[in-house]
Protein backbone atom coordinates (compact mmCIF):
# COMPACT_ATOMS: atom_id res chain seq x y z
CA UNK A 1 0.00 0.00 0.00
CA UNK A 2 1.50 3.30 -1.13
CA UNK A 3 0.67 6.21 1.12
CA UNK A 4 -0.28 9.27 -0.91
CA UNK A 5 0.90 12.11 1.33
CA UNK A 6 0.67 15.75 0.37
CA UNK A 7 4.02 17.04 -0.80
CA UNK A 8 5.46 20.07 -2.56
CA UNK A 9 7.25 19.60 -5.86
CA UNK A 10 8.92 21.79 -8.46
CA UNK A 11 7.41 22.25 -11.90
CA UNK A 12 9.91 21.34 -14.60
CA UNK A 13 7.84 22.62 -17.50
CA UNK A 14 4.30 23.84 -18.15
CA UNK A 15 3.44 24.47 -21.78
CA UNK A 16 0.34 24.94 -23.89
CA UNK A 17 -0.39 22.12 -26.36
CA UNK A 18 -3.61 23.39 -27.86
CA UNK A 19 -6.40 25.81 -27.06
CA UNK A 20 -7.14 25.14 -23.34
CA UNK A 21 -4.82 22.08 -23.22
CA UNK A 22 -1.65 22.24 -21.15
CA UNK A 23 1.18 19.83 -20.43
CA UNK A 24 3.01 19.97 -17.12
CA UNK A 25 6.09 17.99 -16.08
CA UNK A 26 6.67 17.75 -12.32
CA UNK A 27 9.86 16.83 -10.49
CA UNK A 28 8.08 14.27 -8.35
CA UNK A 29 10.26 11.25 -7.67
CA UNK A 30 7.81 9.87 -5.10
CA UNK A 31 4.85 9.68 -7.47
CA UNK A 32 7.11 8.64 -10.36
CA UNK A 33 8.44 5.75 -8.30
CA UNK A 34 5.07 4.54 -7.10
CA UNK A 35 2.56 5.39 -9.82
CA UNK A 36 0.85 3.02 -12.23
CA UNK A 37 -0.73 3.90 -15.57
CA UNK A 38 -4.30 5.08 -15.01
CA UNK A 39 -3.74 6.52 -11.55
CA UNK A 40 -4.22 10.21 -10.78
CA UNK A 41 -2.91 12.89 -8.45
CA UNK A 42 -4.64 15.66 -6.51
CA UNK A 43 -3.24 19.09 -7.31
CA UNK A 44 -3.70 21.90 -4.80
CA UNK A 45 -4.15 25.62 -5.33
CA UNK A 46 -2.32 28.29 -3.39
CA UNK A 47 -5.39 30.56 -3.35
CA UNK A 48 -7.14 29.88 -0.04
CA UNK A 49 -10.56 30.54 -1.57
CA UNK A 50 -10.16 27.36 -3.66
CA UNK A 51 -10.14 24.62 -1.10
CA UNK A 52 -10.48 21.36 -2.93
CA UNK A 53 -7.69 19.64 -4.81
CA UNK A 54 -8.15 19.02 -8.56
CA UNK A 55 -7.86 15.36 -9.59
CA UNK A 56 -5.65 15.10 -12.71
CA UNK A 57 -4.76 11.80 -14.38
CA UNK A 58 -1.13 10.90 -14.91
CA UNK A 59 -0.11 11.15 -18.56
CA UNK A 60 3.48 9.91 -18.35
CA UNK A 61 5.78 8.50 -15.70
CA UNK A 62 9.55 8.86 -16.00
CA UNK A 63 10.92 6.66 -13.23
CA UNK A 64 14.51 7.26 -14.28
CA UNK A 65 14.40 11.04 -14.00
CA UNK A 66 11.81 10.98 -11.19
CA UNK A 67 9.23 12.99 -13.12
CA UNK A 68 5.57 12.78 -13.96
CA UNK A 69 3.63 14.50 -16.70
CA UNK A 70 0.08 15.81 -16.39
CA UNK A 71 -1.91 17.00 -19.39
CA UNK A 72 -5.01 18.93 -18.40
CA UNK A 73 -7.73 21.07 -19.91
CA UNK A 74 -8.55 24.51 -18.50
CA UNK A 75 -12.17 24.20 -17.45
CA UNK A 76 -12.46 26.46 -14.41
CA UNK A 77 -10.57 28.71 -12.08
CA UNK A 78 -8.43 25.91 -10.63
CA UNK A 79 -7.07 24.62 -13.92
CA UNK A 80 -6.78 28.22 -15.14
CA UNK A 81 -4.50 28.94 -12.18
CA UNK A 82 -2.41 25.84 -12.99
CA UNK A 83 -2.00 27.06 -16.57
CA UNK A 84 -0.29 30.26 -15.38
CA UNK A 85 2.43 28.39 -13.46
CA UNK A 86 5.95 28.36 -14.88
CA UNK A 87 8.95 26.03 -14.78
CA UNK A 88 10.64 26.48 -11.40
CA UNK A 89 7.37 27.23 -9.58
CA UNK A 90 6.23 24.94 -6.78
CA UNK A 91 2.96 23.06 -6.54
CA UNK A 92 1.45 20.79 -3.88
CA UNK A 93 0.58 17.27 -4.96
CA UNK A 94 -1.04 14.29 -3.27
CA UNK A 95 -0.68 10.93 -4.95
CA UNK A 96 -0.57 8.54 -6.59
CA UNK A 97 -4.30 7.94 -6.05
CA UNK A 98 -6.78 5.38 -7.38
CA UNK A 99 -6.20 1.91 -8.75
CA UNK A 100 -4.84 2.22 -12.33
CA UNK A 101 -5.18 -0.12 -15.31
CA UNK A 102 -4.54 -3.87 -15.27
CA UNK A 103 -2.07 -4.61 -18.02
CA UNK A 104 -3.49 -7.50 -20.05
CA UNK A 105 -4.44 -8.52 -23.60
CA UNK A 106 -2.41 -9.65 -26.62
CA UNK A 107 -3.67 -7.03 -29.06
CA UNK A 108 -5.08 -4.26 -26.90
CA UNK A 109 -7.17 -1.39 -28.18
CA UNK A 110 -6.69 1.94 -26.42
CA UNK A 111 -9.40 4.55 -26.80
CA UNK A 112 -9.09 8.13 -25.59
CA UNK A 113 -11.65 10.87 -26.00
CA UNK A 114 -10.78 14.54 -25.50
CA UNK A 115 -9.07 15.11 -22.18
CA UNK A 116 -9.35 11.33 -21.65
CA UNK A 117 -6.49 10.94 -24.16
CA UNK A 118 -3.51 11.83 -21.90
CA UNK A 119 -3.72 8.84 -19.48
CA UNK A 120 -3.65 6.47 -22.47
CA UNK A 121 -0.10 7.56 -23.30
CA UNK A 122 1.58 5.96 -20.28
CA UNK A 123 -0.64 2.91 -20.76
CA UNK A 124 0.43 2.67 -24.43
CA UNK A 125 4.03 2.84 -23.28
CA UNK A 126 3.61 0.06 -20.71
CA UNK A 127 1.38 -2.39 -22.57
CA UNK A 128 2.89 -5.26 -24.53
CA UNK A 129 1.49 -6.67 -27.74
CA UNK A 130 0.26 -5.18 -30.96
CA UNK A 131 -1.50 -1.99 -29.94
CA UNK A 132 -4.19 -0.08 -31.77
CA UNK A 133 -4.98 3.40 -30.54
CA UNK A 134 -8.14 5.35 -31.32
CA UNK A 135 -8.18 9.01 -30.40
CA UNK A 136 -11.40 11.00 -30.53
CA UNK A 137 -11.50 14.77 -30.80
CA UNK A 138 -14.17 17.40 -31.23
CA UNK A 139 -12.11 19.33 -33.81
CA UNK A 140 -8.54 20.30 -32.94
CA UNK A 141 -5.95 17.48 -32.66
CA UNK A 142 -3.38 17.25 -29.84
CA UNK A 143 -0.85 14.60 -28.74
CA UNK A 144 -1.71 12.16 -31.53
CA UNK A 145 1.88 12.07 -32.86
CA UNK A 146 3.17 11.10 -29.43
CA UNK A 147 1.20 7.85 -29.67
CA UNK A 148 2.58 6.78 -33.05
CA UNK A 149 5.71 5.17 -31.62
CA UNK A 150 3.58 2.80 -29.51
CA UNK A 151 1.03 1.51 -32.03
CA UNK A 152 -1.22 2.18 -34.98
CA UNK A 153 -3.14 5.42 -34.39
CA UNK A 154 -6.67 6.07 -35.71
CA UNK A 155 -8.38 9.42 -35.33
CA UNK A 156 -11.97 10.54 -35.23
CA UNK A 157 -13.19 14.13 -35.22
CA UNK A 158 -16.75 15.30 -34.72
CA UNK A 159 -16.40 17.90 -37.47
CA UNK A 160 -14.62 15.51 -39.86
CA UNK A 161 -11.57 17.76 -40.13
CA UNK A 162 -9.28 14.75 -39.59
CA UNK A 163 -9.68 10.97 -39.67
CA UNK A 164 -13.13 9.42 -39.41
CA UNK A 165 -15.98 11.92 -39.14
CA UNK A 166 -17.89 11.05 -36.00
CA UNK A 167 -16.86 9.44 -32.73
CA UNK A 168 -14.41 6.74 -31.64
CA UNK A 169 -16.93 3.95 -32.26
CA UNK A 170 -17.36 5.17 -35.83
CA UNK A 171 -13.55 4.96 -36.23
CA UNK A 172 -13.52 1.39 -34.86
CA UNK A 173 -16.13 0.33 -37.46
CA UNK A 174 -14.51 2.39 -40.18
CA UNK A 175 -11.21 0.52 -39.80
CA UNK A 176 -12.70 -2.79 -38.68
CA UNK A 177 -10.48 -2.80 -35.60
CA UNK A 178 -10.32 -6.14 -33.73
CA UNK A 179 -9.06 -6.56 -30.17
CA UNK A 180 -9.13 -8.81 -27.10
CA UNK A 181 -8.98 -5.99 -24.53
CA UNK A 182 -10.33 -2.45 -24.63
CA UNK A 183 -8.94 0.36 -22.50
CA UNK A 184 -10.86 3.64 -22.55
CA UNK A 185 -10.93 7.05 -20.95
CA UNK A 186 -13.12 9.95 -21.99
CA UNK A 187 -16.50 11.57 -21.54
CA UNK A 188 -19.29 9.43 -20.06
CA UNK A 189 -21.35 9.20 -23.31
CA UNK A 190 -18.26 7.78 -25.05
CA UNK A 191 -17.64 5.29 -22.24
CA UNK A 192 -21.29 4.28 -22.31
CA UNK A 193 -21.04 3.59 -26.07
CA UNK A 194 -17.85 1.57 -25.57
CA UNK A 195 -19.45 -0.36 -22.74
CA UNK A 196 -22.39 -1.28 -25.02
CA UNK A 197 -19.99 -2.15 -27.87
CA UNK A 198 -17.87 -4.39 -25.64
CA UNK A 199 -20.95 -6.14 -24.29
CA UNK A 200 -22.33 -6.77 -27.77
CA UNK A 201 -18.99 -8.21 -28.93
CA UNK A 202 -18.45 -10.15 -25.70
CA UNK A 203 -15.18 -8.34 -25.05
CA UNK A 204 -13.55 -7.17 -21.87
CA UNK A 205 -13.07 -3.45 -21.39
CA UNK A 206 -11.43 -1.32 -18.73
CA UNK A 207 -13.00 2.11 -18.41
CA UNK A 208 -11.50 5.07 -16.57
CA UNK A 209 -14.25 7.22 -15.04
CA UNK A 210 -14.39 10.81 -13.96
CA UNK A 211 -16.50 12.63 -11.37
CA UNK A 212 -16.29 15.71 -9.17
CA UNK A 213 -14.30 14.77 -6.08
CA UNK A 214 -13.66 16.26 -2.67
CA UNK A 215 -11.33 14.12 -0.53
CA UNK A 216 -9.81 11.92 -3.26
CA UNK A 217 -9.17 9.08 -0.81
CA UNK A 218 -12.53 7.36 -0.46
CA UNK A 219 -13.93 9.01 2.65
CA UNK A 220 -16.44 11.64 1.53
CA UNK A 221 -18.47 9.52 -0.93
CA UNK A 222 -18.71 12.49 -3.29
CA UNK A 223 -17.57 10.68 -6.45
CA UNK A 224 -19.50 7.43 -6.55
CA UNK A 225 -20.77 5.56 -9.59
CA UNK A 226 -23.46 2.92 -9.81
CA UNK A 227 -22.06 -0.58 -9.57
CA UNK A 228 -23.73 -3.73 -10.84
CA UNK A 229 -23.00 -5.62 -7.67
CA UNK A 230 -23.41 -4.57 -4.07
CA UNK A 231 -20.09 -3.01 -3.12
CA UNK A 232 -18.29 -4.62 -0.20
CA UNK A 233 -17.33 -1.31 1.38
CA UNK A 234 -20.43 0.82 0.92
CA UNK A 235 -22.91 -2.09 1.18
CA UNK A 236 -25.01 -0.45 -1.58
CA UNK A 237 -24.62 -0.47 -5.38
CA UNK A 238 -22.14 2.39 -5.35
CA UNK A 239 -18.41 2.28 -5.92
CA UNK A 240 -16.06 5.13 -5.10
CA UNK A 241 -14.37 6.39 -8.26
CA UNK A 242 -11.38 7.88 -6.40
CA UNK A 243 -10.65 4.79 -4.29
CA UNK A 244 -12.13 1.73 -6.04
CA UNK A 245 -11.49 3.28 -9.47
CA UNK A 246 -11.05 5.38 -11.48
CA UNK A 247 -10.57 2.26 -13.65
CA UNK A 248 -13.37 -0.31 -13.65
CA UNK A 249 -14.18 -3.30 -15.82
CA UNK A 250 -17.10 -2.37 -18.05
CA UNK A 251 -19.37 -4.99 -16.48
CA UNK A 252 -18.73 -3.67 -12.95
CA UNK A 253 -20.43 -0.31 -13.43
CA UNK A 254 -23.64 1.24 -14.74
CA UNK A 255 -23.05 4.42 -16.69
Amino acid sequence: MVLAEKHKVVIKQNIQLDEDIYSMWLEDSYVAKNAKAGQFVSLYLEDGSSLLPRPISICEIDKELGRIRLVYRVVGKGTLAFSTLKGGDEITVMGPLGNGFHLEGKNPLLIGGGIGIPPMLELAKQLDGEKKIVLGYRDSIFMSQEFEQYGKVYISTEDGSAGTKGNVIDAIFDHDIRTDMIYACGPTPMLRAIQAYAKEKGMKAQLSLEERMACGIGACLGCVCKSTERDHHTNVNNKRICKDGPVFYADEVEL
Binding site: K6, S49, L52, M213, C215, G218, A219, L221, T234, N235
Partner: protein, 300 residues
Protein backbone atom coordinates in the same frame (compact mmCIF):
# COMPACT_ATOMS: atom_id res chain seq x y z
CA UNK B 1 -0.80 20.72 30.60
CA UNK B 2 -4.19 19.04 30.58
CA UNK B 3 -6.37 18.93 27.48
CA UNK B 4 -9.00 16.60 28.95
CA UNK B 5 -12.63 17.50 28.53
CA UNK B 6 -15.75 15.78 29.81
CA UNK B 7 -19.18 15.57 28.20
CA UNK B 8 -22.03 13.70 29.91
CA UNK B 9 -19.63 11.73 32.10
CA UNK B 10 -17.44 10.68 29.18
CA UNK B 11 -13.80 11.77 29.34
CA UNK B 12 -11.99 12.79 26.17
CA UNK B 13 -8.20 13.13 26.05
CA UNK B 14 -8.54 16.31 24.05
CA UNK B 15 -11.36 18.45 22.65
CA UNK B 16 -10.91 17.43 18.99
CA UNK B 17 -13.26 15.16 17.07
CA UNK B 18 -14.33 14.82 13.43
CA UNK B 19 -17.44 16.27 11.84
CA UNK B 20 -19.85 13.56 10.78
CA UNK B 21 -19.71 12.63 7.10
CA UNK B 22 -16.23 13.97 6.45
CA UNK B 23 -14.25 11.13 7.99
CA UNK B 24 -16.17 7.94 7.20
CA UNK B 25 -15.50 5.65 10.15
CA UNK B 26 -11.87 6.69 10.12
CA UNK B 27 -10.53 3.85 7.94
CA UNK B 28 -9.32 6.01 5.05
CA UNK B 29 -7.81 8.64 7.34
CA UNK B 30 -6.13 6.09 9.61
CA UNK B 31 -3.43 5.89 6.93
CA UNK B 32 -2.70 9.57 7.52
CA UNK B 33 -3.31 10.13 11.23
CA UNK B 34 -3.04 8.11 14.40
CA UNK B 35 -6.69 7.98 15.42
CA UNK B 36 -5.57 7.46 19.03
CA UNK B 37 -4.44 11.09 19.05
CA UNK B 38 -8.04 12.29 18.61
CA UNK B 39 -10.42 12.99 21.46
CA UNK B 40 -13.10 11.15 19.52
CA UNK B 41 -14.06 9.99 16.06
CA UNK B 42 -17.57 11.02 15.05
CA UNK B 43 -18.78 8.64 12.36
CA UNK B 44 -20.72 9.24 9.19
CA UNK B 45 -24.49 9.02 9.72
CA UNK B 46 -25.77 5.50 10.27
CA UNK B 47 -29.32 4.43 9.34
CA UNK B 48 -31.31 1.30 10.11
CA UNK B 49 -30.89 -0.06 6.56
CA UNK B 50 -28.27 0.77 3.88
CA UNK B 51 -28.85 4.08 2.07
CA UNK B 52 -27.57 4.64 -1.48
CA UNK B 53 -27.54 8.45 -1.25
CA UNK B 54 -28.12 11.00 -4.00
CA UNK B 55 -27.16 10.98 -7.69
CA UNK B 56 -23.90 12.67 -8.76
CA UNK B 57 -22.56 15.33 -8.98
CA UNK B 58 -22.67 15.37 -5.19
CA UNK B 59 -19.99 17.97 -4.48
CA UNK B 60 -19.08 21.41 -5.79
CA UNK B 61 -16.49 23.93 -4.75
CA UNK B 62 -17.61 27.45 -3.86
CA UNK B 63 -15.66 30.52 -2.80
CA UNK B 64 -13.97 29.57 0.46
CA UNK B 65 -16.19 26.56 0.89
CA UNK B 66 -17.94 23.65 -0.75
CA UNK B 67 -21.40 22.28 -1.28
CA UNK B 68 -22.25 18.66 -0.73
CA UNK B 69 -25.39 16.65 -1.31
CA UNK B 70 -24.17 13.14 -0.59
CA UNK B 71 -27.57 12.21 0.80
CA UNK B 72 -26.33 10.23 3.80
CA UNK B 73 -25.11 7.21 1.86
CA UNK B 74 -24.15 4.60 4.44
CA UNK B 75 -23.91 0.81 4.74
CA UNK B 76 -26.57 0.54 7.44
CA UNK B 77 -26.31 -0.17 11.15
CA UNK B 78 -25.62 -3.93 10.85
CA UNK B 79 -22.46 -3.50 8.81
CA UNK B 80 -21.51 -0.56 10.98
CA UNK B 81 -21.70 -2.67 14.13
CA UNK B 82 -19.94 -5.64 12.59
CA UNK B 83 -17.13 -3.79 10.83
CA UNK B 84 -16.70 -0.19 11.92
CA UNK B 85 -17.02 -0.42 15.71
CA UNK B 86 -14.34 -3.17 16.02
CA UNK B 87 -12.13 -1.13 13.68
CA UNK B 88 -12.44 2.03 15.79
CA UNK B 89 -12.02 0.12 19.06
CA UNK B 90 -8.48 -0.78 18.02
CA UNK B 91 -7.65 2.85 18.77
CA UNK B 92 -7.56 4.69 22.05
CA UNK B 93 -10.25 7.19 21.12
CA UNK B 94 -13.91 7.69 21.95
CA UNK B 95 -16.60 6.78 19.44
CA UNK B 96 -19.47 9.14 18.68
CA UNK B 97 -22.00 7.56 16.32
CA UNK B 98 -24.04 9.89 14.16
CA UNK B 99 -27.59 8.54 13.81
CA UNK B 100 -29.95 9.28 10.90
CA UNK B 101 -33.45 8.21 9.93
CA UNK B 102 -36.33 9.05 7.64
CA UNK B 103 -38.85 8.71 10.44
CA UNK B 104 -38.77 8.88 14.22
CA UNK B 105 -39.17 5.11 14.22
CA UNK B 106 -36.05 4.69 12.09
CA UNK B 107 -33.97 6.90 14.39
CA UNK B 108 -35.18 4.82 17.33
CA UNK B 109 -34.35 1.55 15.57
CA UNK B 110 -30.73 2.62 15.14
CA UNK B 111 -30.49 3.88 18.73
CA UNK B 112 -31.89 0.58 20.00
CA UNK B 113 -29.50 -1.47 17.88
CA UNK B 114 -26.59 0.56 19.27
CA UNK B 115 -27.79 0.36 22.88
CA UNK B 116 -25.68 -2.67 23.72
CA UNK B 117 -22.78 -1.74 21.48
CA UNK B 118 -19.44 -0.49 22.66
CA UNK B 119 -19.79 3.14 21.59
CA UNK B 120 -19.51 6.20 23.79
CA UNK B 121 -22.08 8.72 22.62
CA UNK B 122 -24.75 9.10 19.98
CA UNK B 123 -25.13 12.21 17.88
CA UNK B 124 -28.66 12.52 16.56
CA UNK B 125 -28.60 14.16 13.13
CA UNK B 126 -31.70 16.31 12.86
CA UNK B 127 -30.06 18.75 10.52
CA UNK B 128 -29.02 17.12 7.24
CA UNK B 129 -30.32 19.38 4.43
CA UNK B 130 -29.87 16.81 1.66
CA UNK B 131 -32.49 14.14 2.25
CA UNK B 132 -36.16 14.39 1.35
CA UNK B 133 -37.43 12.80 4.52
CA UNK B 134 -35.97 12.97 8.00
CA UNK B 135 -32.80 14.93 8.68
CA UNK B 136 -33.51 18.62 8.81
CA UNK B 137 -37.28 18.08 8.91
CA UNK B 138 -36.90 17.21 12.61
CA UNK B 139 -34.60 20.11 13.33
CA UNK B 140 -36.46 23.20 12.17
CA UNK B 141 -39.28 23.20 14.65
CA UNK B 142 -38.77 23.48 18.40
CA UNK B 143 -41.61 21.13 19.24
CA UNK B 144 -40.29 18.36 16.99
CA UNK B 145 -36.74 18.86 18.30
CA UNK B 146 -37.99 18.34 21.83
CA UNK B 147 -40.15 15.39 20.79
CA UNK B 148 -37.39 13.47 18.98
CA UNK B 149 -34.91 14.26 21.74
CA UNK B 150 -37.13 12.86 24.48
CA UNK B 151 -38.13 9.80 22.43
CA UNK B 152 -34.52 8.95 21.64
CA UNK B 153 -33.40 9.70 25.19
CA UNK B 154 -35.96 7.23 26.52
CA UNK B 155 -34.37 4.28 24.71
CA UNK B 156 -30.72 5.33 24.42
CA UNK B 157 -28.17 3.72 26.70
CA UNK B 158 -25.46 6.17 25.70
CA UNK B 159 -25.55 9.93 26.24
CA UNK B 160 -27.09 11.79 23.32
CA UNK B 161 -25.95 14.84 21.44
CA UNK B 162 -28.48 16.65 19.27
CA UNK B 163 -26.88 18.04 16.09
CA UNK B 164 -28.51 21.35 15.26
CA UNK B 165 -29.17 23.05 11.94
CA UNK B 166 -28.23 26.65 11.22
CA UNK B 167 -31.11 26.82 8.72
CA UNK B 168 -33.52 28.20 11.31
CA UNK B 169 -34.67 31.65 12.44
CA UNK B 170 -33.29 31.24 15.96
CA UNK B 171 -30.92 28.40 16.77
CA UNK B 172 -31.12 29.07 20.51
CA UNK B 173 -34.78 28.08 20.38
CA UNK B 174 -33.79 24.65 18.98
CA UNK B 175 -31.00 24.34 21.54
CA UNK B 176 -33.44 25.03 24.39
CA UNK B 177 -35.86 22.49 22.94
CA UNK B 178 -33.07 19.87 22.88
CA UNK B 179 -32.25 20.73 26.48
CA UNK B 180 -35.85 20.40 27.63
CA UNK B 181 -36.11 17.11 25.72
CA UNK B 182 -33.30 15.74 27.88
CA UNK B 183 -30.29 15.95 25.56
CA UNK B 184 -26.87 15.51 27.14
CA UNK B 185 -25.14 17.87 24.72
CA UNK B 186 -25.66 19.72 21.45
CA UNK B 187 -23.42 19.95 18.40
CA UNK B 188 -23.53 22.78 15.89
CA UNK B 189 -23.57 23.77 13.16
CA UNK B 190 -24.52 21.42 10.37
CA UNK B 191 -24.20 22.85 6.85
CA UNK B 192 -26.12 25.83 5.49
CA UNK B 193 -28.34 25.09 2.51
CA UNK B 194 -26.84 26.54 -0.66
CA UNK B 195 -26.80 26.32 -4.45
CA UNK B 196 -24.50 26.66 -7.44
CA UNK B 197 -25.38 27.05 -11.10
CA UNK B 198 -23.19 26.04 -14.04
CA UNK B 199 -23.68 28.98 -16.41
CA UNK B 200 -22.20 27.09 -19.39
CA UNK B 201 -24.62 24.19 -19.06
CA UNK B 202 -27.36 26.47 -17.68
CA UNK B 203 -28.07 23.85 -15.06
CA UNK B 204 -27.66 23.24 -11.35
CA UNK B 205 -24.20 22.03 -10.53
CA UNK B 206 -25.43 19.49 -7.99
CA UNK B 207 -27.81 16.76 -9.12
CA UNK B 208 -29.77 17.49 -5.93
CA UNK B 209 -30.02 21.19 -6.96
CA UNK B 210 -29.19 22.31 -3.42
CA UNK B 211 -26.47 21.17 -1.06
CA UNK B 212 -24.96 21.91 2.32
CA UNK B 213 -22.37 24.69 2.43
CA UNK B 214 -19.33 24.00 4.60
CA UNK B 215 -15.76 25.21 4.94
CA UNK B 216 -14.17 28.44 6.14
CA UNK B 217 -16.85 30.52 4.37
CA UNK B 218 -19.32 29.57 7.14
CA UNK B 219 -17.00 29.88 10.13
CA UNK B 220 -18.10 33.34 11.33
CA UNK B 221 -21.74 32.22 11.29
CA UNK B 222 -20.95 28.99 13.12
CA UNK B 223 -18.91 30.82 15.73
CA UNK B 224 -21.67 33.35 16.34
CA UNK B 225 -24.21 30.53 16.75
CA UNK B 226 -22.00 28.59 19.18
CA UNK B 227 -21.63 31.74 21.25
CA UNK B 228 -25.40 32.35 21.23
CA UNK B 229 -26.21 28.78 22.22
CA UNK B 230 -23.53 28.75 24.93
CA UNK B 231 -25.28 31.73 26.45
CA UNK B 232 -28.75 30.24 26.35
CA UNK B 233 -28.40 26.65 27.61
CA UNK B 234 -26.41 24.76 30.24
CA UNK B 235 -25.45 21.79 28.06
CA UNK B 236 -21.94 21.23 26.72
CA UNK B 237 -21.43 22.14 23.07
CA UNK B 238 -19.45 20.50 20.29
CA UNK B 239 -18.67 23.40 17.97
CA UNK B 240 -17.96 23.09 14.26
CA UNK B 241 -18.22 24.92 10.97
CA UNK B 242 -15.23 25.79 8.82
CA UNK B 243 -12.45 24.95 11.27
CA UNK B 244 -9.20 24.59 9.34
CA UNK B 245 -6.60 25.33 11.98
CA UNK B 246 -5.95 25.28 15.73
CA UNK B 247 -6.60 29.04 15.78
CA UNK B 248 -10.07 28.43 14.35
CA UNK B 249 -10.68 25.68 16.91
CA UNK B 250 -9.58 27.93 19.77
CA UNK B 251 -12.07 30.58 18.67
CA UNK B 252 -14.88 28.05 19.04
CA UNK B 253 -13.60 26.92 22.43
CA UNK B 254 -13.36 30.50 23.66
CA UNK B 255 -16.88 31.17 22.37
CA UNK B 256 -18.18 28.33 24.54
CA UNK B 257 -17.54 24.98 22.84
CA UNK B 258 -16.29 22.15 25.07
CA UNK B 259 -15.21 20.19 22.00
CA UNK B 260 -14.66 21.03 18.36
CA UNK B 261 -15.13 18.99 15.19
CA UNK B 262 -13.00 19.11 12.05
CA UNK B 263 -14.94 18.56 8.83
CA UNK B 264 -14.20 19.96 5.37
CA UNK B 265 -10.58 20.58 6.42
CA UNK B 266 -10.01 16.81 6.19
CA UNK B 267 -10.63 16.98 2.44
CA UNK B 268 -8.02 19.69 2.01
CA UNK B 269 -5.49 18.18 4.37
CA UNK B 270 -5.87 14.58 5.57
CA UNK B 271 -3.78 15.47 8.62
CA UNK B 272 -5.94 18.46 9.63
CA UNK B 273 -7.28 16.80 12.81
CA UNK B 274 -3.84 16.07 14.25
CA UNK B 275 -2.56 19.48 13.29
CA UNK B 276 -5.42 21.06 15.25
CA UNK B 277 -4.66 18.85 18.29
CA UNK B 278 -0.99 19.80 18.16
CA UNK B 279 -1.76 23.47 17.54
CA UNK B 280 -4.01 23.64 20.61
CA UNK B 281 -1.25 22.06 22.70
CA UNK B 282 1.28 24.56 21.35
CA UNK B 283 -1.02 27.44 22.18
CA UNK B 284 -1.51 26.18 25.73
CA UNK B 285 2.21 25.70 26.22
CA UNK B 286 3.03 29.11 24.83
CA UNK B 287 0.40 30.89 26.91
CA UNK B 288 0.99 28.75 30.01
CA UNK B 289 -2.55 27.40 30.15
CA UNK B 290 -2.60 24.45 32.59
CA UNK B 291 -6.04 23.15 31.74
CA UNK B 292 -8.14 23.52 28.60
CA UNK B 293 -11.14 24.34 30.79
CA UNK B 294 -9.55 27.75 31.42
CA UNK B 295 -10.18 28.53 27.75
CA UNK B 296 -13.74 27.20 27.39
CA UNK B 297 -16.16 30.13 27.15
CA UNK B 298 -13.44 32.51 28.33
CA UNK B 299 -14.70 35.21 25.98
CA UNK B 300 -17.93 36.50 27.46
Amino acid sequence: MNTNVRIAGVDFKNPVTTASGTFGSGMEYSEYVDLSRLGAVTTKGVSSVPWAGNPTPRVAETYGGMLNAIGLQNPGVDVFIERDIPFLRKYDTKIIVNVVGKTLKEYCEVVERLADCDVDLLEINISCPNVKEGGIAFGQNARSVEEITSQVKRIAKQPIIMKLSPNVTDITEMARAAESGGADAVSLINTLTGMKIDIHKRAFLLANKTGGLSGPAIKPIALRMVYQVANSIQLPIIGMGGILTAEDALEFIMAGATMVAIGTANFINPRATIEVVEGIEDYMRKHKIDHISQLIACVK
